[in-house]
């Protein structure tokens, strides 16, 4: 082999290529290699120092949710044929993966009631930024109006990307838990490229999506902004879908659809749009075609949008994205099925309502807003949230997210965001009520009636 290359030794091969002064003189300062069993034990020990949702009754949500992942998804995503292949640039050896993409797109399209979907983007927060770039490519305008009731990470991500796009981001405030309709309409002008809201929003409230879309479009005489909704796919069995609410581009975090929590990733971002945005979409899109013998097949389509061909004029730089996670997503949606997604939505809706009412009945707890909620809701505690949470944690219950701890915004002080899934039973909710009530009782400023403090 060395002879074929024309060098006398491995050493020579490197000497002749890498300038001597750049070659590492000492081995990397890393531990020695380990046998498989030792690596496993090491990683198991690390896992043991995390408290997973198996070891804690957890009501954490805020973007990622502990839904049950059916066992068949693991089986499929662990099949070598799905797990290990390269990107399907060669359709003749990748028909399976391409068809999965096609089916995924169809499912997302049905779910959002929007005619076109790509094959996934990275995740939910950067999906918002991706939608903003689509808007920029579409109308060339320079500002983005965004409801402050998006997940803070989504807004932060949007801001990072927007600096690159050379666009300004304008946040619209909320009123009683939802985007302030007046402020929203007022913020949008002829320079607004995209107007973005979340459904349900970060505080768990269901927005009047149709009204927001309509007022956004109506705010500009001629051509309104691109209306973008960040949706939670699991709620789309019960909530009016973006496509029926005047939304142009829907994005969202796909994790609730059959993806595990994984401490935040990998999961996938969904992205669907009206037909006219098809050629502005980022990422891969699979299409159906026929081969020479008339057999149906699938290919990556509209590749001229992509960076391989269009380079600096591509609609996006996104390349490797989330094929395997999107597979889990479409299998999950097929597992639920047409009826199941509605039933699951109704179930979570009912439990969310129950939990909210029970918790709000605790002395020292009130609803942060009165809007309808579907899977998550914000409360305001008349006590130090951090201290209350610590008490609950000691009882094995994670009561949800300290809003202030995540957002750092003053107005979120006292806020607790509680999420439900089909995994949290009524007994679990009742336990939360009990534990939270005790914790608040213990932490509440002595004698102070809730009304005063909350005023």
């Amino acid at each position: 082999m060395l002879a074929a290359i024309g060098v006398g030794s491995l050493e020579e091969l490197f000497e002749r290529q890498i300038p001597a002064e750049l070659r590492l003189r000492e081995p990397l300062d890393l531990p020695a290699g380990m046998p498989e069993q030792d690596v496993y034990e090491h990683l198991r020990a690390l896992a043991g120092r995390n408290r997973s949702v198996e070891e804690q009754l957890s009501f954490l949500g805020a973007g990622m949710y502990d839904h049950y992942v059916p066992a068949l998804i693991d089986m499929l995503t662990e099949r070598s044929e799905f797990l290990t292949p390269y990107t399907p640039y060669q359709p003749e050896v990748a028909q399976g993966g391409l068809q999965v993409m096609f089916e995924y797109q169809t499912a997302i399209s049905e779910l959002t009631a929007l005619p076109v979907s790509n094959a996934s983007v990275y995740e939910g927060a950067s999906a918002v930024a991706a939608a903003a770039y689509m808007a920029k490519l579409h109308n060339g305008r320079s500002s983005i109006v965004v409801s402050e009731a998006l997940h803070p990470h989504s807004i932060e991500t949007l801001r990072t990307y927007a600096r690159g796009y050379g666009m300004q981001v304008r946040e619209v405030s909320t009123r009683d838990g939802v985007t302030d309709a007046q402020a929203w309409a007022g913020a949008i002008d002829a320079d607004t490229s995209a107007a973005i809201f979340a459904q349900p929003n970060f505080l768990g409230a269901v927005e009047d999506a149709a009204a927001l879309s309509e007022s956004a479009k109506a705010a500009v005489a001629q051509d309104g902004p691109v209306v973008v909704a960040q949706v939670d796919p699991i709620t789309l069995g019960v909530l009016a879908p973006p496509g029926e609410c005047g939304v142009d581009v829907a994005v969202g975090e796909g994790q609730p659809l059959g993806n595990r929590l994984d401490f935040g990733g990998p999961s996938f971002g969904l992205l669907a749009a009206r037909e006219e945005y098809l050629r502005r979409m980022p990422g891969r899109i699979a299409g159906a075609t026929e081969d020479l013998e008339g057999r149906r097949g699938f290919v990556l389509t509209l590749q001229t949008r992509e960076q391989h061909i269009r380079r600096e004029r591509a609609t996006s730089n996104i390349c490797t994205a989330q094929a395997l996670n999107a597979l889990a997503g479409v299998v999950y949606l097929s597992w639920l099925g047409r009826r199941g997604i509605v039933e699951l939505g109704e179930l979570v809706l009912a439990r969310t309502h129950y939990a909210r009412e029970q918790l709000a009945a605790i002395e020292g707890v009130e609803k942060l807003h009165e809007q309808p909620v579907v899977r998550e809701f914000a409360l305001r505690l008349d006590a130090d949230v951090d201290a209350v949470r610590r008490r609950c944690l000691r009882s094995g219950v994670n009561p949800g997210l300290d809003l202030y701890a995540l957002s750092g915004r003053e107005r979120d002080r006292g806020g607790l965001l509680v999420a439900l899934t089909e995994r949290r039973t009524r007994a679990d909710i009742d336990r939360l009520v009990e534990v939270l009530a005790a914790a608040i009782e213990a932490e509440r400023p002595a004698g102070a009636p809730a009304e005063q403090l909350l005023a």
Binding site: I5, G33, R51, L60, E110, T160, Y161, R296, L336
Partner: protein
């Protein structure tokens, strides 16, 4: 009608899951809500409700399993043989990594779990940050980027932030005309302008052209080294000097990093920023197009700007997410990165250790070179795809050491 007899794998291709099953069928059994029943309109006003269920598939569990197992069989995978495409950046995907990543302590850990209850995950990330810093020779690491191209975006935004912090607005980014398509696409998305660099006969940067184009407007040079032919740009020191000479930064596209790990380091060559493709150099399975992971490592001068959060170790030995970086370019995504890929990459590094990583690289380079030699010999250089499969296999002849088994080029 459902799974027709003809629906055996291979036959009647193209029928989608939507065309199977029958109305009303499904795999999911819904748990009881257990809570008092309430008028649905009270829970959610009609106006906000979905009127018609989305037309998702209606299939039984066995139909579902058969359909997707059937589709899987229409894929060609790494566990069955080599790829005609992309094979030299693909590694064997040890199954240990899937097992470890599936442990509930990793897989079922909520990203917003309180840090004191996620110490194992944070330690793993911290150790991975350290290993990537050591491998790249660049001390500061962000694990945030979701894939190589997002790592590139981070890199270009970092460069912008660096220059802007010094009061400069530089708008050009130099990239060789052979650069991967994500490089120019990224530059545009980051609001800068691509300036193409000519390639010299050896496939490296044309120094003359570089000198000509390197001016005060240049923010950055993006480079892949070794390049796609497995050739190390011998002028790299000079390139760095030129680029740094005009105050620009040097970006390393790490897609080919697996060729140099343990042999030389981007940091030592003068690069300021490097991205890693954990799904290429560190065995994260490719999944037919993701998930990926594109951590970046940077030099001291770029460090203040890296994305938040970063995992930090406190003096008491505990680990925390550090968000308090006032000059940071901000977030690129929600939460802390593709943690599941970190578990696998870290497992790979643990398995191989310093020696193993070096062995892996040597084997990769040797093969790349052997490949090159053979291609030239046969005059086949233009037809890489077809020739790949046969030639890459000779890697096995080398892999005698106990750890080399993990190395697939």
């Amino acid at each position: 009608m459902s799974v027709a007899p003809a629906e055996r794998p291979g036959s009647e291709p193209g029928r989608t899951i939507f065309q199977k099953g029958a109305p009303g069928r499904r795999a999911f059994v819904c748990p009881d809500s257990e809570v008092p029943e309430i008028d649905p309109r009270e829970l959610l006003p009609e106006r906000l409700r979905r009127a018609q269920a989305p037309a998702l598939p209606e299939v039984s569990e066995p139909e579902l399993v058969r359909h997707y197992v059937g589709l899987s069989k229409r894929n060609y995978d790494l566990d069955s043989g080599f790829y005609p495409l992309g094979s030299c950046t693909m590694k064997h995907n040890p199954r240990l990594h899937e097992r470890a990543a599936a442990l509930p302590g990793h897989a079922r850990l909520h990203p917003l779990q309180d840090p004191e209850h996620a110490q194992g995950a944070l330690e793993l990330m911290w150790r991975l940050q350290g290993a990537l810093a050591e491998i790249s020779g660049l001390p500061h690491v962000s694990l945030q980027p979701c894939a190589g191209s997002q790592g590139e975006l981070a890199g270009v935004l970092l460069t912008r932030a660096y220059h802007e912090d010094r009061g400069e607005r530089r708008h050009k980014v130099l990239t060789p005309d052979t650069a991967h398509g994500t490089n120019p696409a990224t530059v545009t998305m980051a609001g800068l302008e691509v300036v193409k660099l000519e390639t010299n006969g050896a496939g490296g940067v044309d120094l003359e052209d570089l000198r000509r184009k390197a001016d005060d407007d240049v923010a950055c040079l993006m480079l892949t080294n070794p390049n796609t032919l497995g050739i190390f740009d011998e002028n790299i020191a000079e390139i760095a000097e030129i680029v740094h000479g005009v105050g620009a930064t040097l970006y390393y596209d790490g897609a080919n990093l697996n060729a140099i790990m343990g042999l030389t380091r981007p940091g030592d060559m003068g690069f300021d920023i490097v991205h890693f493709n954990l799904h290429k150099s560190f065995t994260q399975p490719h999944g037919g197009g993701g998930p990926g992971s594109g951590p970046i490592a940077v030099s001291e001068r770029i460090a203040p700007f890296i994305p938040v959060p970063v995992v930090a170790r406190a003096s008491d030995g505990s680990f925390a997410l550090d968000h308090d970086r006032p000059k940071s370019i901000g977030r690129l995504r929600a939460f802390h990165g593709n943690y599941g890929t970190f578990v696998r990459a870290y497992a790979y590094i643990c398995s191989l250790g310093a020696d193993g990583l070096q062995d892996a690289s040597q084997t990769a380079v040797l093969n790349a070179n052997y490949l090159l030699a053979r291609l030239q010999e046969h005059g086949l250089a233009e037809y890489l795809p077809l020739a790949f499969g046969e030639l890459c296999m000779h890697e096995f002849v080398l892999s005698g050491g106990p750890l080399k088994r993990r190395l697939q080029v």
